[in-house]
């Protein structure tokens, strides 16, 4: 009798654990397809040898342009290079009609965050990889997932549901910024990074 109660209780605990750690993350995030595939490695690899800042540029006033516009792609891809499926999509759907590619941005911060790339990349000389990981050498795009409640890209929280990153670059939540700033003894105020 006593034993049965304990077993029941434990099975309740186990059921919760299973749901919480496996079913819940699956339900919390919605997978969204990128408009097309993109191979960073082809661009940055030995053959082309492009650096990050050749496409991800700064403007004159120091703001970061982020993902390049279609005009940048057109500079090289005005006609299809090679015969891959994504090359076809690029040229037919975007370059030719001169339409911007509606990329889903893994590292998109909310409107209330102010992140000056200039201060980090130019002044503090932080490498792109420190925050973005080896994205620049990837040959396929990772799966883009969006949190159904908060609307954030999964990469902001980090791929791991526990919030404990398995790679140093994983996760782009505020505590990540705070930690780095603390290490560098920056006099911090909320308004430094919030707008």
């Amino acid at each position: 009798m006593r034993c049965k109660g304990l077993i029941l209780m434990l099975s309740g605990v186990l059921a919760s654990l299973a749901i919480g750690w496996f079913a819940f993350p699956a339900a919390l995030y919605r997978t969204e397809a990128q408009p097309m595939q993109f191979n960073h490695a082809v661009h940055t690899g030995e053959q082309n040898g492009m650096t990050c800042d050749m496409c991800h540029e700064f403007t004159e006033n120091g703001s970061f342009k982020g993902i390049p516009t279609i005009a940048k792609c057109t500079e090289c891809h005005s006609a299809a290079i090679g015969s891959t499926e994504s090359e076809k999509v690029l040229v037919e759907q975007f370059v030719t009609p001169h339409k911007e590619i509606p990329w889903k941005v893994y590292s998109r911060q909310p409107d209330n965050a102010y992140f000056p790339h200039a201060a980090h990349v130019k002044r503090a000389e932080i490498k792109c990889e420190e925050c973005h990981g080896p994205h620049g050498s990837s040959s396929t795009l990772p799966v883009y997932q969006v949190n159904r409640i908060s609307g954030y890209s999964r990469d902001i929280w980090g791929r791991n549901i526990s919030g404990l990153p398995s790679h140093p670059w994983e996760g782009m939540k505020m505590d990540r910024c705070v930690r780095c700033h603390a290490e560098r003894h920056r006099d911090d105020s909320c308004l430094d990074c919030h707008k």
Partner: protein
Amino acid sequence: MNITRRELLTFAGGSILGALFTPIPWKLLDDSAIWTQNWSLIPRLPRGPETFTFTGCTLCPGGCAVKARRVNGHPVSLVGVAGHSLSNGILCPMGIAGHHLAYHPLRLRRPFAFTGKGADSPLVPSTLDEIASNLAPMLKDIRSSSSRGTIAVLDQRPGRVLSDLYRKFVSNFPGGIYAVAPGSEDPTLTTLRALCNTTEGTLGYDLENTRVILSFGAPLVDGWSTPGRTVQLLQNRNQNGLKLIQVEGVQSRTALQADTWLPIMPGTEAALALAIGGVIVRQNLFPAKIEKTSPDFRTYKTLVSKFEPEDVAAVCGIPSSVISETAHALASNPSVVMSGYDPAGGPLDNATETVIAGLNVLLGNIGRTGGISLHAPIPSPGATTSPAVGLAQVPDHSVRLLLIDGAESGHTYPLSLLKRKLTADGGTVVMLSPYLSSRSALADYLVPSPAAFESLEEISTPPGARRSSFALSLPLLKQPDTTVDPATLLAKLAGASGLPSVGAETVESCLRQRTHDIWLSKRGTLATPTGSSQTPVMAMASEEELWKGLSEGGWWVDNMQDKQVNPRLTLLGLMTPDRYDKASAPALDTTGTLKLIPFGWRNATMTASVAPVLSKLFQESHLRSLGGRVHINPSTLAANALSDGAYVKISTHSGNMTAQAVADPSVIPGVIHAIVGPSPNNTASKDRPEAEGILGLCAVRDDGSWRITEATIAKA
């Protein structure tokens, strides 16, 4: 297997315990909090490249230079252009939010027809072609005979190339009238032009060199002409030695900033002007030549002799010593006398305007440094075809078809002023307008015109400017497909009336023509947007260079020498001395009839004419009073057994309405200072025009003025 309730509870207890060790509660807590930070009720911010455009504000004839910050091509904020020599980097509250106006909730998004006239009739969607074909028989009829009334165009902002198009259009009809709206021109200068008996050239104030300004209620720091000009002159008074004497029955923002404020009983301005004239004449403070050059000097002298300062003091409430001091200040310095120009009260009556303008003649201010100059107008493609008349001068019941231009002049006027010009059957009114407003109530057809910053327009010489100037207002916003360019409407109407293609011209082609004329004239210089460099037109290689400079936000200022003024200046013009009696002492008992004086703030006289964000000034603070409120001196309120904030019924011969009274010690006793202005958020009725409000109570006199109306108040 039988599961008891207790077993089920044990299981549930276990799962609750287990859930605490999963991410579920904690992640949900976090995500729900994040959700509140970016839920769909907060708009997303635009992201995109930042650019800057120089343009000009067309909300009023002031024509201030604007630097627009744009994100993704959309204007995000507007600022003045610091180096701009005409507006000195200053924008008014309307201008600074001007880019929001195109999105006003009362924006007209398509042509409409009314089934009947008035505020109660509903809007019926229509099309431009439908309107043109409906009007075709009437247009053709008017073309053949004007016996049953003619066509008139009411231009709200004269002096544009579009104005020339209007004039050309009406000249095709017999008796066709090109009228200008009250307030679209400076009343003192208009009156002076009549006294000078000159048609050539444009009059302007040489405020930069004057030392004393006597202003009869002109809102010099609150939206007069190009605000940046007067505000800066007055702020630099300790350097330029300028003195401002403000004559006004309310302590307005200008009166507060004035060196001397003469709190006058409204309606006695003529007496004061004549008393000042009397002191000048009696003490021989005027230039000797005036006696010879002014044919009516003797008449004037006889007239002013009846206006002894002591007597006038009792009438207008200004001590005789102050009247005398004012006369001396005016006579011993370069000075300018100017009047009214209230955006809702309109000009003073003709007789008063004449003696105010006449003071300038008496002082010899015309054509002298620091006085009033006569300069060359912007080079124009030749003589215009229809003469311009003031709306008041249009014969009553003569207009069968009225076309109202949609430009903003920053002023307003009672609709009854328009109504009396229409034929007995009420006529037909076609109104161009970006918004639905109280004026729409008069229209039979509403044609949506471009809103501010949506179309290419020109910034021509601001009223009272020292020299002619010209710049382009370049569009910042994409014009909705449904809006109709005025030139297009003219072309349609011309087609409907069987005219040869008058309207083939577009505003842009007219502007190019005007640029061409300027280039041909070789006059003036073009300044770059920031004023950093100036190029004489003479030094320009091609017309295209001038156009390019203008298209980049540059502005052209004339450098022509001032014109010679016709020396035969009259002091009273067509006014006869019997028009002026000393005016009996105003009833200062404040329980009987009060004086209803409409007051408006330039550009803020109608709901739709201000951007919704102006609610900060009108609704979310007490900085500016909401439209429809009446400010009354506490003593007058008390005498009528009313209290601050009470709702009062105001009655005049034209009707009555209820308004909220505000006890305001800055208003002279015996006066109802009625705010004609916006209620920025009063957009509840999007499908019918709002009622006219206080202006509907005003009595319009024969000379077209409506500033003072007798009224009574009682508790509502």
